[in-house]
């Protein structure tokens, strides 16, 4: 089931009565989510990603715009009529019901023609439980389960209705690091097995990149970029996206283009043909630095951290907007801690130029 | 917008409620138009009657309602025990404010004064004087008003209680009455050759004698401090209260004097009262005389005679009880208090209800059999002099002794002093005055202040001030 958002907008009335200022949580969103894909809605907290998810679920009504599931306009439909499953950040399991009762609960709400006989309900519940591998725990109460198990129950409860769209709100944030990796794979597996279009919300770019078919990056209610994770990483639309994706984060410099050359401070570090002379903001991915004794970029070396396969070089540069530059280089490149400076050449496809005002990408 | 609607609704609801309450207060309306006293015996009418009767008394009442219905089948009497006298007053007081008072109620004079703030009580003068006749179901007739014989048969003191409200009008008829009598330990009195006191001086002398015989006794228990004070005023002819003009007149030298005298009695250990002893003094009177702190005399209500019987658990008696009139200040002009409920009729828009109520009240207060049976069941004194026309009652009275049949013995004493009854003026605030003089007695008797005269003076002054404050003067 493809999901289409058309000019979706959500405005909250101001909490502060005196100023009367409205809060635009989601501003004129338009994008299409292809059928059967796993989509990550990504952005820092307060960017409107949860609001978007809630609007897709129907729990919140958009102020403007439309939502389509396939060709059906569901904008005015209430949540239960949309055929969605929703998993909450804290799982929202009913504490007084057993796992089985929790999973059965949505089915028992079905009315009229959709109403199921008891044995079918039970069968479906067990099916969902098997899918998330908790069919052994059906008679336990949520308080008797680990975080990861609760997570699975919540997913089973969302899946049992056979939703057209599965929505997950920060599904991994309440798990510890080890479980997070494991569950991430689990979600991927379940999604592949069921083929249900799945949208999940996260503020963790690594999480989003690792399992999504597509990611949607948002900031302050405005859509920044949509695409496959690698594409977005390699080709960010603006400085925000570039900064938000990638660990370690991108290094940012104040630079200037003069005569087709990019200057950082006094150093002309890269040829950027086709760009007019202007001041620019420069983003260089950590892996874009290549140590080169004759390289054009000269930095003051601070530290070298050995990471096994790679080496992380921490240095300083006058044009850097961050206190430090972090670059990832091959372990066999010959840099020693005692050196005062280190010189780099830059990989052109790892260097991005942005307008200093709009922060939009300047392509070269 | 929504908030405006909500607040509007709130205001509307408030207004509606207050309007409705305002209109409801008009319910009492003017006095029932009794220009004609024709009672329609064909039209059904229901009247309600509030009282404080316990189960056995209600049985008597029900029996006589059935008899009453034989002659007036169209009148349905619904009656209800509301609780104590205070409960009746409180209930009716609130009901009057919504125009929902009953037709007939047990009342004390101060209740009537209170109800009359709302002009709710029917005056009876016109009804008593009505000479037209009503035809009963059995074909006999009766005069609507009271005949001269009927008026004569009432014990005067009780009948006159109905017109003590300062305006000369009659508001109540007496239902059943009680008074104070002196209970004494006849066995003890005979044994020690004591004479039963008839005056306060004699009483004091007897107390002194008893105290010598049995120092650990309290010769006299007086139940009601209020009655004591009021009765003394009445016997001495000193001012107490007035229904008209300035109400509270009891702060005067004469009254100071008798209170001071009784204080000396108390300090000499001659007397105790209900408030001081912490319970009805009958408990002290009926104690085994061998125990400390017993009383050999007790002045209490004739209606409480049952509690003065000194019965042992095995059914024998500790001593024989004698009953006499309370001591007097002036033997020539005896005064004893009249207590017990009267009946009042409330104004109603429907004149037929008032007439039906009147006929029922008249039946209860003038029917010898009812008065006799009610008297026997309650221990109260019937209000009719000719109650002995009832043979059973007459026989029981004649057989009354100083053991198990004290109530009848008390009634006998009451009937013998029929000319001595007095009632004090009733007005709004008369019950406050009653309470305050009772407290005044408590204070003056027990106080340990050194300057007795100043203490008494202050207590009187405070009591009058309190009465005036409560009355809103």
């Amino acid at each position: 089931m493809k999901v289409v958002l058309q000019n979706l907008t959500k405005i909250f009335p101001s909490r502060n009565k005196k100023s009367g200022e409205e809060v635009v949580a989601v501003n004129d969103f338009t994008f299409e989510i292809p059928d059967g894909k796993l989509i990550g809605l990504l952005g820092p907290s307060g960017c409107g990603k949860s609001t978007t998810l809630y609007m897709i679920s129907g729990l919140q009504k958009p102020t403007g715009g439309k939502i389509f599931f396939g060709d059906d306009d569901v904008t005015e439909l209430s949540p239960e009529n949309r055929g969605i499953g929703l998993v909450f950040q804290n799982y929202a399991l009913y504490p007084h019901m057993t796992v089985k009762q929790n999973i059965l609960f949505p089915l028992q709400n079905l009315k009229g023609a959709d109403k199921l006989p008891k044995d079918v309900m039970l069968e479906r519940a067990y099916e969902a439980a098997r899918l998330v591998q908790i069919d052994e725990l059906m008679d336990r109460k949520p308080s008797e389960l680990s975080g990861g198990q609760q997570q699975r129950v919540a997913i089973a409860r969302a899946l049992v209705k056979m939703p057209r769209v599965l929505l997950l709100d920060e599904p991994l944030s309440n798990l510890d690091a080890r479980l997070r990796l494991q569950t991430r794979e689990e979600i991927r597996r379940i999604q592949k097995e069921t083929g249900i279009t799945t949208i999940f919300v996260t503020h963790d770019q690594e999480e989003a990149m690792s399992i999504s078919d597509m990611i949607v990056v948002m900031k302050l209610g405005v859509l920044q970029q949509i695409g496959k994770p690698q594409e977005v990483y390699d080709d960010p639309a603006n400085l925000f996206v570039a900064k938000f994706l990638g660990t370690p984060p991108i290094n940012v410099f104040a630079g200037e283009v003069k005569g087709g050359k990019l200057y950082l401070g006094e150093q002309a570090v890269l040829d950027v043909a086709g760009v007019d002379d202007r001041k620019v903001t420069v983003g260089i991915r950590p892996e874009g630095f290549v140590p080169d004794a004759n390289g054009p970029m000269i930095c003051d070396l601070s530290n070298v951290e050995i990471m096994g396969r790679d080496v992380s070089v921490v240095s300083k540069h006058q044009a850097s907007l961050n206190p430090q530059i972090r670059s990832i280089v091959d372990a066999d490149s010959n840099i020693s801690v005692g050196d005062a400076t280190v010189r780099f050449t830059l990989k052109p496809h790892k260097v991005f130029l942005f307008d200093t005002e709009t922060e939009e990408r300047i392509r070269f | 917008m929504k908030r405006k609607i909500v607040s509007l609704l709130l205001v509307l609801a408030m207004l509606a409620t207050s309007l409705l309450l305002a209109t409801s207060c008009v319910g009492n309306g003017p006095a029932a138009g009794l220009s004609e006293f024709e009672f329609d015996t064909s039209k059904p009418v229901t009247i309600t009657f509030y009282h404080t009767m316990g189960e056995s008394l209600r049985a008597v009442l029900d029996k006589h309602i059935a008899r009453f219905n034989e002659i007036y089948p169209n009148i349905t009497v619904e009656h209800k025990q509301v609780g104590s006298y205070d409960d009746v007053r409180e209930q009716i007081k609130t009901e009057i404010t919504v125009g929902d008072q009953p037709n007939i109620a047990y009342c004390y004079p101060d209740h009537v004064a209170l109800y009359n703030l709302a002009l709710a009580v029917q005056t009876l003068d016109d009804l008593i004087a009505a000479t037209n006749t009503v035809t009963r179901a059995d074909g006999t007739t009766e005069q609507l008003g009271l005949t001269a014989d009927q008026v004569d048969n009432f014990i005067d003191g009780y009948y006159n209680e109905g017109k003590q409200f300062g305006d000369g009008k009659m508001y109540t008829l007496p239902m059943s009455k009680s008074t104070e009598v002196l209970y004494y330990n006849k066995t003890f009195f005979t044994e020690h050759n004591l004479s039963v006191p008839t005056t306060w001086e004699e009483l004091k002398a007897v107390c002194a004698q008893i105290k010598e015989i049995d120092p650990n006794s309290i010769p006299l228990g007086y139940d009601s401090e209020s009655n004591w004070f009021i009765t003394m005023c009445e016997q001495l002819g000193t001012p107490y209260t007035s229904a008209t003009g300035s109400h509270f007149l009891f702060d005067n030298e004469d009254n100071h004097a008798f209170v001071k005298e009784f204080r000396e009695w108390y300090k000499a250990g001659y007397v105790t009262t209900q408030a001081i002893s912490g319970g009805y003094t009958s408990a002290l009177f009926t104690k085994n005389p061998a125990e400390d702190g017993n009383c050999y005399m007790c002045i209490g209500s004739s209606a409480g005679a049952n509690h003065q019987i000194p019965e042992n658990e095995d059914g024998t008696f500790k001593f024989e009880v004698g009953i006499a009139s309370v001591p007097q200040a002036n033997k020539e002009a005896p005064k004893v208090i009249s207590q017990g409920p009267s009946l009042c009729i409330f104004k109603k828009a429907d004149a037929q209800e008032v007439l039906a109520s009147w006929l029922f009240v008249k039946y209860l207060t003038t029917t010898v059999d009812f008065q006799a049976e009610f008297g026997m069941a309650s221990g109260y004194v019937p209000v009719l002099e000719n109650v002995t026309d009832n043979e059973v009652y007459a026989a029981e009275l004649a057989a009354a002794n100083g053991y198990e049949s004290l109530p009848l013995l008390a009634t006998k004493v009451c009937l013998e002093q029929a000319n001595a009854y007095y009632t004090s003026p009733a007005f709004n605030g008369s019950s406050t005055a009653r309470d305050e003089v009772g407290k005044l007695m408590q204070i003056c008797l027990t106080s340990t202040e050194a300057d007795v005269d100043a203490m008494i003076k202050k207590a009187f002054k405070d009591a009058v001030a309190e009465c005036k404050y409560q009355a809103g003067e």
Partner: protein
Amino acid sequence: MVDGKKSWKAWLYLAPAIVLLLIFTAWPIFNTVRMSLLEGYNAMQASAGVKFNFGFKNFVDVISYGNFLDYLWNTILLCFLTVPISTLLALIIAVCLNAIKPFQRLLQTIFFLPYVTNSIAIGMVFAAMFNMVGNNFGDPNELVITAGIINNVIEFFGGERINWINAGSSYFHNMFVMTVYIVWNALPFKILVLLGGLQSVNKQYYEAAKVDGTSRLRTFTRITVPLLSPMITYVVITGFIGGFKEYSSIVGIFGNNMGPTGDPDRLNTMVGYIYKSLSLQPGRASAAALILFAIIFVVTLLNLYISKKNTHY
């Protein structure tokens, strides 16, 4: 934060409560204010069509009443005696209860018993315990028949019997009995709340204090009390509100006389005044009720202010 909820739906849920509250709470409040401002108002005359002047005479009447200050003093004294005593005692009992293991539940249950009693009934029991039967108390020819079980106990231990509540008793002894009765009545609730608070205090604080070698007293004053301060504030405030409404406990001991024989109304209180005036002077009763409300309001605010200043975490 789900929106799209229609307001009318919420009001539908609220409707039964709102309707009942308008009739049985809002209107009486309004009517009380109305009555308090009608000079010399009483319902009987009102129903007979008498009109009353509008003004503050009822308030003046209440405040200028000679005994009113006495009643106010009684009320305040009872509050300031019983609330601190019962709170402190409850605190100590709660701390002790919290420090024991065996029989903790049993004792806790016993301490709660006074709560499940009928206050009218149990007042009769207390009065019977302190009551003396006899005559001329305090006079040379005093006669005591039954001294009351409390005096029996005092005499058993060699003390002199005391005239607690009967004729000739002193204000001090009256107040003592009232204090004992009210504290007895107030303890269960306070113990329960404070013990509940203690049990929810993180044990680590105490373990930390123990490791530091903090003395018991210091632990109590520097850890227990501050951590319990919200609960203490709560029981103190409810205690004061209840204390200013003290009435039935005095009736329970002294009856409607509201004082010992020979000094009626000695222990009367604000609410006692309201009840006394209710029947004949509802205007004054309303005015007094509003004054009482104002006092309770101020005291509660004061309590909150003080507790806020003393809560440090």
